[in-house]
């Protein structure tokens, strides 16, 4: 599989047809799907019909778009008109949306070819893809290990080389952690940068869509396509969208990169992790960047803050699943409340139930000020930490994860251990600022990502640094050996 921009250029020059590219992607998926299980639904008809129209535009000499003919996999949280959208949940297992998400519409308008809907933790709640109501997805680097989550199917299929591009969503790390686990690039944009219209809501003040890709240039092109104001989402912000691909750097002379002093080193206890990140920082310095130390004194409160705010918003958002207008209904006699309760008991999995209970509790009168409002105040302090840090640096570099991909089942009985997976990614989510993971090497032969962070609406800065780093180190070019071996 070549990169998305190479496909786009070849399709635009009519050296390759979008139909042939789509067929190859669908074949690659078919071959690996029994092993990886990255998809909840495949959409060959949607893909081939879109590919034919891209080829027609290209033959007619029209601009076929920035993503012309590029196969893209969509997390099953984005509505696709007429095509099943489950959000990884039994409660939506037969739901066919009457409209498409703005992200999907913009991708297709730019010539991208949607090949399928990827597996995920139910309602995006999880860090391993094991909370899918349907089946777990496997990591292409080791099929006994998880691909990360919640955008695990998207990361797995890009990491396996089936498609060059996929869409994910990130509430507390759900793009960056699976990107790290599957050796791909994963970008969480600024909150408000990308429309959330047609995304199934989990925590509305945190959710944000972004690309997962084989290289930084493809992520830059995809972000340009999906970013920008949308009248259908009043929280999308009307800030001009730059041509991100024009901001990709080759060397980092004059760039100030901040290293964080306040993260708890014992979270990433493995000495292999520590030395991998030290090497990454030295590589960045060798490219000409100046390393400076920055403080994020409230970052250590990130998990506690997040696990009040996100469940509170989840309990409110998921109140809509009541068996009345769409989704599963389990009847319970004549009583409407027993219908609600039975529908939700049968439709939601254990993690979703746990978060609904926690969030409902945090919002109860009598506890609201002590938990929810206090968490929102800590969120203010955390945002101020980043504002101060960015006064002395352009981009922050830090770990994306505390460990390489773990084995299936290793953490599924211990929710707190699973929540700790988001330790390095949550502070940026709470501050609403952009952050990404870029492949940074291997620990025990398993991929690990470096996290780069920018101020709000300055995605171009972190993409620029990531591009120079990717080019100098070549980590993203390495393929999953398990797959090529067989």
């Amino acid at each position: 599989m070549i990169s998305g921009h190479e496909i786009r250029d070849a399709v635009a020059r009519r050296e390759r047809s979008a139909v042939e590219v789509a067929q190859q992607a669908l074949q690659a998926i078919d071959r690996l799907e029994p092993r990886l299980r990255a998809y909840i639904s495949l959409l060959p008809e949607r893909a081939l019909s879109q590919a034919r129209s891209v080829d027609a535009r290209s033959r007619a000499g029209q601009d076929a778009g920035l993503l012309a003919g590029v196969p893209v996999a969509i997390k099953d949280l984005f509505c696709t008109k007429g095509d099943r959208t489950t959000c990884g949940s039994k409660i939506l297992q037969d739901f066919r949306p009457p409209y498409s998400a703005t992200v999907v519409e913009r991708l297709e308008a730019a010539g991208a070819v949607v090949v399928g809907k990827t597996n995920m933790d139910e309602f995006a709640m999880g860090s391993s893809c094991e909370n899918s109501a349907f089946f777990p997805t496997r990591n292409p680097w080791d099929e006994g290990r998880v691909p990360g989550g919640s955008s695990g199917g998207s990361a797995s299929t890009v990491g396996a080389g089936c498609v060059p591009l996929a869409m994910g969503t990130d509430t507390g790390g759900s793009i960056r952690e699976p990107a790290s686990f599957c050796n791909v690039v994963g970008v969480k944009p600024t909150y408000g940068r990308v429309s959330r219209y047609g995304m199934i809501a989990f925590a509305s003040s945190l959710d944000q869509a972004g690309p997962l890709s084989r290289d930084v240039r493809d992520a830059a092109d995809a972000l340009e396509v999906i970013a920008g104001f949308d009248p259908m989402d009043s929280t999308s912000v009307d800030v001009p969208v730059p041509r991100y691909a024009d901001h990709l750097l080759e060397d980092l002379t004059g760039v100030r990169v901040g290293l964080v002093d306040d993260f708890d080193e014992t979270i990433a206890a493995d000495s292999g992790m520590t030395s991998l990140y030290q090497t990454a920082y030295r590589n960045i310095e060798a490219l000409g960047a100046t390393l400076v130390h920055v403080r994020l004194p409230h970052a250590k409160y990130g998990l506690a803050t997040y696990y009040l705010i996100a469940p509170a918003e989840c309990s409110s958002n998921l109140a809509r699943y009541d068996g009345t207008r769409y989704g599963l209904r389990v009847d319970g006699g004549d009583d409407v409340y027993s219908m609600f309760e039975r529908t939700r008991a049968e439709g939601f999995g254990p993690e979703v139930k746990r978060r609904i209970v926690l969030g409902t509790y945090a919002l109860c009168s009598g506890y609201y000020d002590a938990y929810y409002v206090r968490a929102q105040k800590v969120r203010t302090l955390m945002k101020a930490d980043f504002d101060l840090a960015f006064a002395s640096c352009d981009v922050i570099a830090c770990p994306a994860v505390s460990c390489p991909p773990f084995e299936l089942g290793a953490k599924s009985q211990d929710p707190v251990a699973m929540y700790l997976m988001d330790y390095f990614t949550i502070p940026m989510s709470l501050a609403g600022i952009p952050a990404m993971s870029v492949p940074a090497g291997y620990v025990n032969g398993l991929p690990v990502g470096l996290q780069l962070v920018s101020p709000a609406f300055e995605e171009a800065r972190m993409l620029g640094v990531a591009h120079a780093y990717e080019k100098a180190t070549g980590h993203a070019r390495r393929r999953a050996p398990q797959l090529s071996a067989r």
Binding site: K300, I356, V357, R379, P415
Partner: protein, 98 residues
Amino acid sequence: MADVPIDIHYVAKLARLSLTDEESARISAQLSRLFDFIGELQGLDVSGVHPTAQVIPLANVYRDDVVKPSLSNDEALANAPQRDGPYFKAPRILEGEF
């Protein structure tokens, strides 16, 4: 903070979620572990700090009050578990005769 006085049956009722005894016991045990680290926040001085509900610099966002095409009745009802003509059908909510 480990022993949180969380009445799981009351909270589940508020959330319109029926839990089995086994689920209630498991969730209670897991939540008390969670509250161990959520309790960290109680030690932090937040006096004088404004809460952040959302991070973007937006206040009220208005749009023109113009009627635009929207979903047809059939499209809106296409996913309904039960329908009755142009309506969603649900169990009776109000008491009495109509």
